[in-house]
Symmetry: C2
Subunit: 318 residues, 2 copies
């Protein structure tokens, strides 16, 4: 039995076909060109599906389901992308439009949910039933897996862990609230904190790394300078780790999952990030002297997680 996963991104549409062992056996990628009419994007998704089926030496009758991971607010029950600021679509009944072209069951969920499901089926959380993943990228995504299935909440509008509070009345968040996790713990938030530290410490190694041009600041700048022994950079890193640690403690206290998974660009810092995060969660989780505290582990599937998770949506929905 084979399933197809489509990772619909703001830049690329990545489509893959997976076998029964959740291995991707064929895949393709086309540019999203997000500004064009959405019907054209759907047509490219349909073409991509047919392409990977051919490439795998299969026919459409071998395919059990198609799953889509999409950014934004998804009404997964009705197969509708309600709203996303990455692609110019609102209230598009995407699953039924694809089903018109290919008569196979089509499922959809948020891309962060699919990434978490992919890690559960094939990555860091393989064999676990309860896992929560956060993605530290441009924003902070959240994916909650309970009993092996995505937890989405009413109208699929839950799971927005990036939009929980870290500091009341804190920095403005893109969602209209102040002090959200995303404002501080995203790569965007890290860059903001790094820039502030550079301006306050013009002699820091961070300023050398960006060649004196704040525009060159990235999510790596503070980590790289801290590794070279820069005190101001270390302070940025410590504060950032505390912020991420606080989210992970919150997730632990609310869900007490079997595992906490960290993905996204910032997770590339590896043990330099994960070791202190594990210590933080162990120290501050509720009742950690008496009861189980989950390990923090790095996502292992990279972009494949989105495809595999999308392909496995059928199992999460049934």
């Amino acid at each position: 039995m084979y399933n197809i996963g489509i990772d619909l991104g703001g830049t690329n549409i990545a489509t893959g076909i997976i076998d029964e062992n959740c291995k991707i056996i064929a895949q393709t990628s086309v540019k999203t060109n997000a500004k064009r009419p959405f019907d054209e994007i759907i047509a490219d998704m349909v073409t991509s599906v047919k392409e990977v089926v051919n490439e795998a030496g299969l026919s459409l009758s071998d395919i059990n389901s198609i799953g889509i991971g999409s950014p934004g607010t998804i009404d997964s029950q009705n197969g509708i992308i309600v709203y996303t600021n990455n692609i110019e679509i609102n209230n598009v009944p995407i699953t039924s439009k694809i089903k018109e072209e290919i008569n196979i069951p089509v499922y959809i969920s948020n891309d962060a949910n699919c990434a978490a499901l992919g890690e559960v089926y094939a990555g860091a959380a393989k064999g676990k039933s309860n896992a929560v993943m956060i993605t530290l990228g441009t924003g902070v995504g959240g994916g909650i897996i309970i009993d092996g299935k995505i937890y989405e909440g009413t109208k699929s509008a839950g799971g927005e862990i990036g939009h929980t509070i870290l500091i009341v009345d804190g920095w403005e968040c893109t969602c209209g609230r102040r002090g959200c996790v995303e404002a501080y713990a995203s790569a965007t938030g890290l860059i903001r904190q790094t820039k502030e530290a550079i301006q306050a410490n013009p002699n820091s190694i961070m300023n050398d790394l960006i060649e004196g041009n704040l525009e060159n600041t990235s999510g790596r700048t503070a980590f790289d300078a801290a590794r070279k022994g820069d005190a101001a950079a270390q302070k940025v890193v410590d504060t950032y780790i505390k912020y991420v640690g606080e989210i992970l403690v919150d997730i632990t206290n609310i869900f007490r999952p079997e595992i906490l998974i960290v993905g996204g660009g910032v997770a590339n810092e590896g043990e330099y990030l994960l070791k202190p995060l594990n210590e933080y969660v162990q120290k501050f989780s509720y009742g950690s002297k008496y009861i189980f505290v989950p390990k923090v582990e790095r996502a292992t599937m990279g972009n494949d997680a989105g495809i595999i998770g999308a392909a496995m949506l059928y199992a999460s929905k049934n």
Copy 2:
């Protein structure tokens, strides 16, 4: 079919028997006397069970299950009270001890979970499958109901909504972390904020209400004075409502439940509290322009919720 619920509190052990409509048909209450040997407490629980069965004109063979709501950290799968600071017990295998005396299935969960389940079966959330309840009392309790069942997490250690972050590096919490919801949004937190405001505003109506003695400050002081038009008290109330609002927005963004229930002593402020909370949740929940936002409603079952929820644990566990 009848089920028995035992609400094991630090002060009283309240035991009730419910019918198929979740109506309490007989109940009894004895003092916990929390400092005595726990075997004596268990003996009183067994006696209470037999009492309510007699009082209802039934025999033990009419009883389907016994459920216990207990404070503290509960390993519900193994029927063990792992730790509670209210009663002198650690690692007591309570369900098997009761089963030794009465051969009926015995279930246990945290008391906040039972209260939430009681509201779902018979109170504010009747007919709903997904609900989250917070209890604003000495601490802040949380009960999460997903698909009609209590969500407990690994080793039953989840659901601690009171121990999620509100302000990084904020006030110390009893759990060892800083800035938890419980530190600010509990009645204890409200009293602290009220006392600070009284000291800063000795001419406020709040100071009259407590007759100049800070020890008389209660969770009602600021609300009562605000209703009389006291500006300093209104500020305390507004800040407190913002704190509770932030938790409820977090719960909405994470779970998007069908309903948010507020219980505990502070909920007695009624619409004076609920109206601004509803406005807050409507305004700040993620994507509230596009998608469903749950209503905030007051718990309606009072102490009965704990008994009814405990009695219905069998349904939550199967």
